[in-house]
């Protein structure tokens, strides 16, 4: 009578391990596009939310209420974790932002031809 019980416990353990492996497999980490993060920026206010996809080369972007998107750059060393929803982690591994977070200020980081093409979220390194 004891052997079957032990067998069932063992099977459960294996199933849990497999589940953990599967779940862990759903977690993807991607490096984020980085830019020199100056202490200052040419800021503009916005009313956008953070979005991202592990399968998109931009990794993260801002979605505006009007349906527009702006590519994002981040401080060097920051990463994106998709488990499966987006989390943005700083160099210390601390979650700093999540998908759907509202963003009220951005800094233009794009080229002179179109500065607004790439932006940085204002205040990431501040208090």
């Amino acid at each position: 009578m004891q052997a079957p019980n032990r067998s069932r416990r063992g099977a459960s353990f294996v199933a849990l391990c497999l589940l953990a492996i599967v779940l862990n497999g759903c977690t993807t980490e991607r490096p984020l596009p980085a830019a020199e993060f100056a202490d200052r920026c040419r800021g503009v206010a916005t009313d956008a939310v953070l979005a991202g996809s592990a399968n998109d080369r931009r990794v993260t972007w801002l979605q505006t209420p009007e349906g527009g998107q702006m590519s994002l750059v981040w401080p060097a060393g920051w990463t994106a974790r998709f488990s499966p929803d987006l989390q943005v982690l700083d160099v210390g591994g601390v979650v700093r932002m999540r998908a759907g977070d509202r963003v009220s200020g951005i800094c233009f980081k794009g080229s002179a031809a179109d500065p607004s093409q790439v932006v940085m979220i204002d205040g990431l390194l501040g208090n």
């Binding site: 200052r40 040419r42 800021g43 206010a45 200020g105 800094c107 002179a112 500065p115 501040g126 208090n127």
Partner: protein, 415 residues
């Protein structure tokens, strides 16, 4: 003084030039004359501003109304004529200074006089406002009066009084009389507009819901995001316009700016320079020499002076995000570079990060930087361009007043 320097002179025609002096005096008395008008006053004896004529002018009907209208129609095509207006005691003809001698001869013997100086500037503004309203009326009846005691323009119209009020408000702003707030007493097909000086008039709700004439310090939005209006300038190349930052429109001209809640258009971007200098203009609506300037959404201050900034002096920026933030510059020749390029000759300030945060924030760009003169008046020094904080230090970079004025060959329009 600005109005007088524009070369205007006021001459008053007792009653109307269309009738004999005796008839004219009768015509000048409104049917519902108030106490100050109970007896036809000899205008030449009048040494102070007219007494309360609000009721009389509000009820601007009958003979007085006819007199204003007749004078308007008789002289509207005569060179130098600006407008006919009733000042509570008589019909006043406003003409250009350059044609004053011609008008003196034309009206000789009809009881003309130079209007009392205490009401001249307001009368000119009121007369031009009336003329503007007349254009809007497009041939329909409009008559106006000026109540010197209450510093108010009162208009009767057979058209939408709201339309007339808006047209007149724009004209008053051009004359620096944005302190006159309009009250539309009847917006039906026939109405009365009272445009009066009032400290308590509610002209706008907040930074985010501003209306024409637009103030500095207000939230503005375009397709690229939100910034702040700076201050009102008069440019030889662009006319009377509102200044802001060039990066706010991504360096583009022709972008329409709206107020914070999108309920009103301020005009389109023009004269944009980016990245050096980082400046832009907004043109297409009425603007005022006032700025939202408190740590709230509603406090308004008048721009009464302007000067170049200096180091070591405390100035305050009035951005629509951070509201009122004060700081002193440590450099006036700072270069700020990013991937868009470099902007030179900036004023720079830094301070410790911490509670209270950045000196300015995203969305403050374009907002004016001022020296606070009194609790209600300020002197323009520049506009906000960039900002930010590291973990320990916050910084702000601003364009200096002289850069703005030299770029647009402009002067700051003062209250």
């Amino acid at each position: 003084m600005r109005l007088l320097s524009r070369g205007l002179v006021l001459v008053a025609l007792l009653g109307t030039t269309l009738a004999s002096p005796a008839q004219a005096n009768q015509s000048a008395i409104p049917e519902a004359a108030g106490p100050a008008l109970e007896a036809p006053a000899a205008v030449s004896d009048r040494t102070t501003c007219p007494g309360s004529a609000t009721t009389a002018i509000t009820n601007l009907t009958g003979k007085t109304s006819d007199a204003v209208e007749q004078a308007q129609w008789k002289y509207q095509d005569t060179a130098g004529f600006r407008a006919a207006i009733y000042d509570g005691m008589s019909v006043v003809i406003v003409v250009d200074q350059s044609s004053a001698s011609d008008w003196a001869a034309r009206l000789q013997g009809t009881g003309l006089r130079i209007a009392a100086s205490c009401v001249d500037t307001a009368l000119v503004a009121a007369a031009d406002a009336t003329a503007s309203g007349t254009k809007v009326a497009a041939g329909d009846y409009i008559a106006a009066g000026y109540d010197g005691l209450h510093d108010a323009v009162i208009v009767n119209t057979t058209l939408d009084a709201g339309d007339i009020a808006r047209a007149m408000s724009r004209e008053l702003v051009k004359h620096g009389r944005q302190d006159l707030s309009h009250v539309v007493e009847n917006t039906k097909s026939k109405g009365t507009v009272r445009i009066a000086h009032s400290e308590h008039a509610v002209r706008r709700a907040s930074r985010t819901t501003d209306t024409s004439p637009f103030f500095g310090g207000g939230r503005i939005r375009d397709t690229f995001g939100g910034c702040t209006t700076g201050f009102y300038i008069n440019s030889t190349t662009n006319g009377t316009v509102m200044v802001t930052a060039g990066h706010c429109t991504n360096g583009q001209n022709g972008i329409t700016w709206f107020n914070g809640d999108g309920s009103a258009s301020l005009g389109a971007s023009e004269g944009v320079h980016f990245p050096d200098p980082d400046l832009g203009l907004i043109d297409g609506s009425g603007y005022a020499s006032d700025t939202f300037g408190g740590n709230n959404q509603t406090t308004v201050k008048s721009v009464t002076a302007s000067a170049d900034p200096a180091t070591g002096v405390t100035y305050c920026q009035y951005g629509a995000t951070s509201l009122r933030k004060c700081y002193a510059y440590t450099s006036l020749n700072y270069q700020f570079c990013d991937s868009s390029g470099c902007t030179n000759n900036l004023a720079f300030s830094s301070g410790p990060a911490g509670p209270g945060g950045s000196l300015s924030s995203a969305g403050d760009s374009g907002g004016g930087v001022f020296k606070e003169l009194t609790s209600t008046t300020v002197s323009a020094r520049g506009i906000v361009i960039g900002n930010g904080c590291s973990a320990t230090v916050c910084q702000t970079v601003d364009h200096k007043r002289q850069t703005i004025l030299s770029t647009y060959n402009a002067t700051v329009v003062l209250h």
